[in-house]
Symmetry: C2
Subunit: 108 residues, 2 copies
DNA sequence: TTAATGCGCTACCAAATGGTTGCATAAATA
DNA sequence: TATTTATGCAACCATTTGGTAGCGCATTAA
């Protein structure tokens, strides 16, 4: 309920996912980003603010422009969670294997 | 803004992530799930409804109990997105390599 | 200096979210 | 049959979200 600012929140919005993809290619300004989408500059700016709070993005002031850089390392957290998840799934299949093995052994 | 019901929405909430983890181990009823958390049965039920709409979870009626199963395949979508992302990042590093190579070649 | 540009920030708004309480229904139990 | 149990569902509420419009502040251009 409270404003969780984590990676999962960051990638929950499709516009934000698109922004992340753009910044994965190279740093950009809010205006440059906004031109790529159908949303306004302000909307993009708001997403950038959220992404900054999630520590997925950092600012670099260059004159009157602000370049947004991607903190790719932060994305590792998603990968880590997915790995954990996959480990649990694997364990489940292992248990299934055990069951199947037992069935095999006990069958006449 | 509209109610997007996708995998990314599904894992955006920490309680929902926990539910997914529980179901990764084995199918469970709402009551059994609720006992694991500090939230109410109804709250968990609402999350299960969202997860069902996201097609991450399926129901299996068994008498008066409803067993919720995880559709692990759906989680692949996250993995797929992450792969795409990593490909872009890799490309960026490749470009950086090019730059470095050029610097090396042109330096006296 | 004046005008234009890039951007943040503050309302403001409709819709969604996450949660609670209470009721209805179906199944198991006494 | 009466009661308990498992669950969904609707109503309600405070907060968040995603978006727009407009103001203000630097920085660059004319």
């Amino acid at each position: 309920m409270n404003s969780r600012r984590d990676v999962f929140q960051a990638i929950a919005d499709p516009t934000r996912r698109a922004i992340i993809m753009m910044l994965a290619v190279g740093s950009m300004t809010p205006n440059a980003l906004a031109e790529q989408f159908k949303t306004s500059r302000q909307a993009v700016s708001k997403h950038l603010q959220i992404l900054t709070e999630c520590e997925i993005v950092t600012q670099e002031h260059q004159g009157r422009e602000i370049h947004y850089h991607l903190n790719a390392a932060k994305m590792k957290e998603i990968e880590k969670w997915l790995e954990q998840f996959k480990k649990l799934i694997a364990k489940r299949f292992d248990q299934l294997d055990d069951v199947l093995r037992n069935l095999k052994n006990t069958k006449r």
